[in-house]
C-alpha cells in the first residue's frame, strides 16, 4: 500500500453531544439523542421524532463570535463549529503552513433560511442576505473562512446520505496523490422543514425511536449534525511529531444503479463498495473487527445492507451495530459522524450497542451487537448508503 492517511484531529456536534468527549460518553452510556421536534415550527411536531442538537443558532453564533450581520445557515454554523474543533484537536495553529484543503458535504445547505424567507425576500431587504447562502457550497466557503483557509482547494460533495463518507474518501485520495499535505474532511446538515417533509412523503420516517436491523423497524429518525476529521500525510505527521488517532486505510464507492431512492434487494452497491474498500485497504474480510453499519432502520436499507454483509463476509459477519438510534440519520453528515464513532471505537477498544433492537429480521439471522462490548479492535468498517444509488465504504485502522 502507498502512503498512510493519518487522522490527527476530530470534531463533532450531534444530538448526543457538542464535542467528541460528550459524544463518546453518550455512546458508552447508551444515551439516545432522539426526541420530539423543538426548534422547527412544523405541523408534524407530534408525528415525528428527530435527533436535534441542543444549541440554538444564537448560541452557535456566540461560540463562533460572529456578531453583527451575517448570513450563516444552521448547516454553516454547525459545520464551522465542528470543523474548528477538529483543527484545534489536531493542534494546528498555522493552517496555511502546509498545503491544506477542505472537503465538506451537505444536502440541506442553506435550505433552512430559504424556506423561512422564501416569500419574505420580496418584502424585506434585511433578509435578502440569505439568498447568497442557499447553495450547498456556501456553508463550506464559510467553514474555510472560519478556519483561515486562503487560496486553497475547497470543495463540497452532495451524494445524499453518503456525502461525508465521500468527502473523507476524496480527502484521502488527494493526500495519497500528493495534491495536499493536509485536508479537513466531513459534513454538515441542519434539520429543515424541507427534509422533514421530504422524507415524510417517502413514508420512511418513524413516529417513534428508530430500531435498526429489527424485524419490526418502522423507519428512520432524521437528525442534524456536523463532524469533521483532520487528515495529514506521513510527512506532516513526522515533521510535526503528530499524535495519530487512527488511519483511513480503505475506501470504496459504487452505485447501485437500481432505483433513484431505494436500494436494491440484494445490496449490489453496498457489496461493491465494501469489496472495493477491502481491496484498497489490502485487507481480507476476516480482518474487519467491527462494522459501523449505515443501518437507518428503514425496511429497505437494513435488508439491503444486511444482505450485502452476507455477500461480503459469508457466514462470518463481524460484530456490527448501527449508531443511528443514538443520533438519528444525519444525512450528509452521517459519514463524518460515524467516522468519528469508528475512530472512538478503535481508540477505546469498544463496540457501541445497536440500541432498540429486539427481533432479528425474518429474511436472515443477523443480530447486531446490542450491548456495549469491550474487544481489541484493529480495523473498523463504516458504510454510508444513499439516494441516487450512492454507496460508500470507509475502513479505519490503528495501523497505516
Amino acid at each position: 500500500m502507498g502512503k498512510g492517511i493519518a487522522i490527527t484531529g476530530m470534531g463533532i456536534i450531534s444530538a448526543i453531544g457538542n464535542n467528541v468527549e460528550e459524544n463518546y460518553r453518550s455512546l458508552i452510556d447508551g444515551k439516545k439523542g432522539i426526541s420530539r421536534i423543538s426548534k422547527i415550527d412544523t405541523v408534524h411536531k407530534d408525528a415525528l421524532m428527530v435527533g436535534e442538537i441542543d444549541f440554538t443558532n444564537q448560541e452557535l453564533e456566540q461560540f463562533l463570535e460572529l456578531g453583527g450581520s451575517h448570513n450563516y445557515s444552521r448547516s454553516a454554523l454547525l459545520g464551522a463549529f465542528a470543523a474548528k474543533q477538529a483543527v484545534s484537536n489536531a493542534n494546528i495553529t498555522h493552517i496555511n503552513s502546509y498545503k491544506t484543503g477542505l472537503v465538506s458535504a451537505t444536502t440541506v445547505g442553506g435550505m433552512d433560511k430559504t424556506e423561512q424567507y422564501y416569500y419574505e425576500y420580496f418584502e424585506n431587504k434585511e433578509v435578502q442576505k440569505y439568498i447568497e447562502g442557499h447553495h450547498a457550497g456556501d456553508s463550506t466557503q464559510k467553514i474555510a473562512e472560519q478556519l483561515g483557509l486562503h487560496g486553497s482547494l475547497v470543495t463540497t460533495i452532495s451524494t445524499a446520505c453518503s456525502s461525508a463518507a465521500n468527502a473523507i474518501l476524496l480527502g484521502a485520495r488527494l493526500l495519497k496523490a500528493g495534491k495536499l499535505d493536509r485536508v479537513i474532511v466531513g459534513g454538515t446538515d441542519g434539520l429543515s422543514k424541507f427534509t422533514l417533509n421530504g422524507f415524510k412523503t417517502l413514508m420512511i420516517q418513524s413516529d417513534t425511536y428508530n430500531t435498526p436491523f429489527d424485524e419490526n423497524r418502522k423507519g428512520l429518525n432524521l437528525g442534524e449534525a456536523a463532524a469533521f476529521l483532520v487528515l495529514e500525510s506521513d510527512e506532516v505527521v513526522q515533521k510535526e511529531n503528530k499524535e495519530v488517532l487512527a488511519y483511513v486505510k480503505g475506501w470504496g464507492n459504487a452505485n447501485d444503479a437500481f432505483h433513484q431512492t431505494a436500494s436494491s434487494d440484494h445490496g449490489d452497491g453496498a457489496t461493491l463498495a465494501m469489496q472495493k474498500a477491502l481491496k484498497v485497504a489490502g485487507s481480507k474480510s476476516n480482518e474487519i473487527d467491527y462494522i459501523n453499519a449505515h443501518g437507518t432502520a428503514t425496511p429497505n436499507n437494513d435488508l439491503s445492507e444486511g444482505r450485502a454483509f452476507l455477500r461480503v463476509f459469508g457466514d462470518t459477519v463481524p460484530d456490527f451495530s448501527s449508531t443511528k438510534a443514538y443520533t438519528g440519520h444525519t444525512l450528509a453528515a452521517a459519514g463524518g459522524v460515524e467516522a468519528v464513532f469508528s475512530v472512538l471505537a478503535l481508540q477505546h477498544n469498544v463496540i457501541f450497542p445497536n440500541l432498540n433492537f429486539k427481533n432479528p429480521m425474518q429474511e436472515f439471522h443477523l443480530t447486531p451487537q446490542t450491548e456495549l462490548k469491550k474487544k481489541k479492535l484493529h480495523t473498523v468498517l463504516s458504510n454510508s448508503l444513499g439516494f441516487g444509488g450512492n454507496c460508500s465504504t470507509l475502513i479505519f485502522s490503528k495501523e497505516a
Binding site: 408534524h44 430559504t114 487560496g151 421530504g198 415524510k200 449490489d268
Partner: protein, 354 residues
Amino acid sequence: MKPVYINSVASISAQRTFDNSVFLDEITEYTDNVIRVIDPNYKEFIPPAAARRMAKGIKMGVAASKIALNEANLENVDAIITGTGLGCIADSEKFVSKIIDDNEEYLTPTSFIQSTHNTVAGQIALSIKCKGYNFTYVHSSVSFESALLDAKLQLEYDEAQNILVGGVDELADHHIKIHKLVDHIKADVVNSKELLESNTEGAVFGEGASFFVLSNKKSDHTYAQVLDVATYNSFSKQELQSALESFLQENSLEISDIDIVAMGNNGDIGYDGYYDALSHGVLKNTAQTYYKHLCGEFNTASSFGAWMAAKMIRTQHIPEAIKLNGMEPSKIGTVLLYNQYRGENHSFVLLRGC
C-alpha cells in the same frame, strides 16, 4: 502516471451546440438578462414517458451524457462524476413553495427526490446501468472543476479508464426573481455582443449541461489532453497573477506557452476586474477569448468554456464571436481556462492539443 485525454464532448447550451458537427458557426444573439438553452430533441436520448417526469437538469444531463458516450463509442464508463451548483433547483422550489402554500400537507415525493443534488449522476447511472464510482460536486463555480480534478486523479492512477464528467445547472423562476432582487442578475436586458460593455452590476443568467468522456487512452477522436486543474476558494486581484505563474510553473510552462486563454467574464462591473487583472496584465499579449455572452452565467458555465476550448483545439479555429482581443495564435496548442464567480472559487484548467 498516465496522461488524461478528452475523448468526446457534448454541450447543451443557449447556442446550437448539441450538434457536434458544427462549432458556433451560427450564433444565436440574445437581448435579455436571462437566457435559456436551445433544446435538442430529447426523444432521441430519453424515452418520452420517462422524459415527461424528468426535471430540466436531468434531461439536459442525460442527453448530454448520451451525446458524449456516443461520440466516444462507449456504452458504459467506469465512473460518473458531475458538478452542479444548485442541482434540480426548480424541483427544490416546487417542494418548498408547496410546503409553505399548503402548510406541509398534500406533498408528493417526486419533486423532493429530484431536488437532491446527486439526481443527475444517479439518473445517468440508472440509464446506462453503471455501478461504478458516482460522485456529485456542488461547490458553486468550481463544481465542474472539482469533478474534472477527481476524474483526472483516477485516470492518472489507472483506477479507471473511461470517466464521464459533466457540469449541469438549470434555471428556475424563484431563483431568477430573487437574484434580480439582489442585482446578481442585471437589472436591464443587454445584447450578447455588448455584455462586457454593460458597465452594470450582475450577470446575464443562463443554464446548460456540458459533458465529456475522459480517458487515459488516446483514441482517433481525442480532442485534447487535460494537463492540469486547480481550484482556489479565495484570492485578491493582486494574488491572482502570481497564483497563475506558480500554476504554470508546476506544469513546466511559461506565459508565452499559452496560445489562448478562455475567460469567464460575465459583464459584472463588480467582479470582471479579476479577469482584467490577467488580461491587462501577464496575459496582455495572449490571444483572449470569452464565452458567457453565449451561454450565460451559471455555476457550471465553465464546463461550456471547457467544451469551447476542446473544440478550438480540435478544429484549430477561433469562432469570431468569442474573440476578445482579436489576437490569433499561429496554432492552437495550449489553452488556459480561468473562471471565478463574484470574486470567489477561482479555477485554472490547462488543455493541450495532442
